[in-house]
Symmetry: C2
Subunit: 176 residues, 2 copies
DNA sequence: TGTTCCATGTAATAAGTTACATGATTTC
DNA sequence: GAAATCATGTAACTTATTACATGGAACA
């Protein structure tokens, strides 16, 4: 169950409300790392509060509560960050389809893999632009920050998908 | 819900029992694409049978049933393979940690990213060997088959993780 | 004859999704 | 004053995991 650690990690960055956290899941984590909706987030925040891993650091209008990580929470987060992977099995629809490619006939496979390459290229373009934006808004002499690292991973990942797909197409061409 | 399509895809390759399918999940899909245990697989096979997407093609000893995909099942599988991605949100602990890196202090970040690079190298080595084995057992003049494609993706993926981690280390070095 | 592997199932619990529900504040 | 956004919650349902349970066949 990585949800609590995702929440701890986001809150460690800066104190936030459940609503803020819901948006950050949607915007940054949901696409590549982890998904959670508000109906899961609010109850989990209460549990984290009960376990003393987070605390209420402020209350705003409309009954909003801003949570921050406690020392205990930060320790638990650190422990998890360094723990071995494999806690929760990955789930990746793209890779699943890749593993099931052999269920299609050769013509279908060619079409699908071609589509995979094209879709990946679109993502690469989007992330390349996002990275350019980050760089543009980074003052010279400053470190670009961690968002840059994540974006770089994303760009390289989609590049990999695209290049792999084209390699498969070439391999299929070879022998047939 | 991709479980049924994963099952259809595996059965499309060759008819199998629930037990066989459980093993193939563990061996091939569980690590990178999708996870499922036998307690989920058996009931889903019954549902697929009820929906006419698979059929029993043979019964062996110990009450084992071998399932095969029906024409309808194959059509449903094909439809899903070509449907747009995004049905189920991905889940990836490595990427989640990558997104939460900023919650660590600089020293911890360096250590963790270094460990990530090393762990990825181990995976690259394993997959490189697996690929060599596949190639060795492929008769000259033959297409190596789809397992080769999946292995290639895995190798490139771990290479990406390793290279990304080293790039991050270099970036962290730069500015401090 | 004991251990491992084959083979299938159910029950209890946990996690995740979708739908339902409410109300305050801001913006146009 | 209508619409969008902020803000939080619960209920119903589906999916997934862990634990429980059983027994046949192969092997040593």
């Amino acid at each position: 169950m990585s949800l609590r650690h995702a929440l701890l990690g986001l809150l460690a960055d800066s104190p936030q409300t459940g609503y803020d956290l819901t948006k950050r899941f949607e915007e940054t984590l949901s696409g590549h790392a982890w998904n959670a909706s508000h109906s899961q987030i609010y109850p989990e925040l209460k549990r984290l509060l009960g376990d003393g891993l987070i605390e209420i650091v402020g209350e705003g209008s409309r009954g909003s509560k801003t949570y921050g990580v406690t020392a205990e929470g930060r320790a638990e987060l650190r422990r998890w960050m360094f723990s071995p992977l494999g806690d929760t099995p990955p789930r990746n629809e793209f890779v699943l389809r890749l593993f099931l490619l052999s269920s299609l006939d050769l013509a279908d496979t060619r079409v699908l893999v071609g589509q995979m390459a094209q879709a990946s290229d679109v993502e690469v373009a989007g992330l390349t632009e996002a990275i350019a934006t980050i760089e543009r808004f980074t003052p010279p002499g400053t470190r670009p920050g961690y968002a840059r690292f994540a974006a770089e991973f994303g760009r390289r990942y989609y590049e990999l998908q695209s290049e792999w797909a084209r390699w498969v197409l070439a391999e299929l061409e070879k022998a047939s």
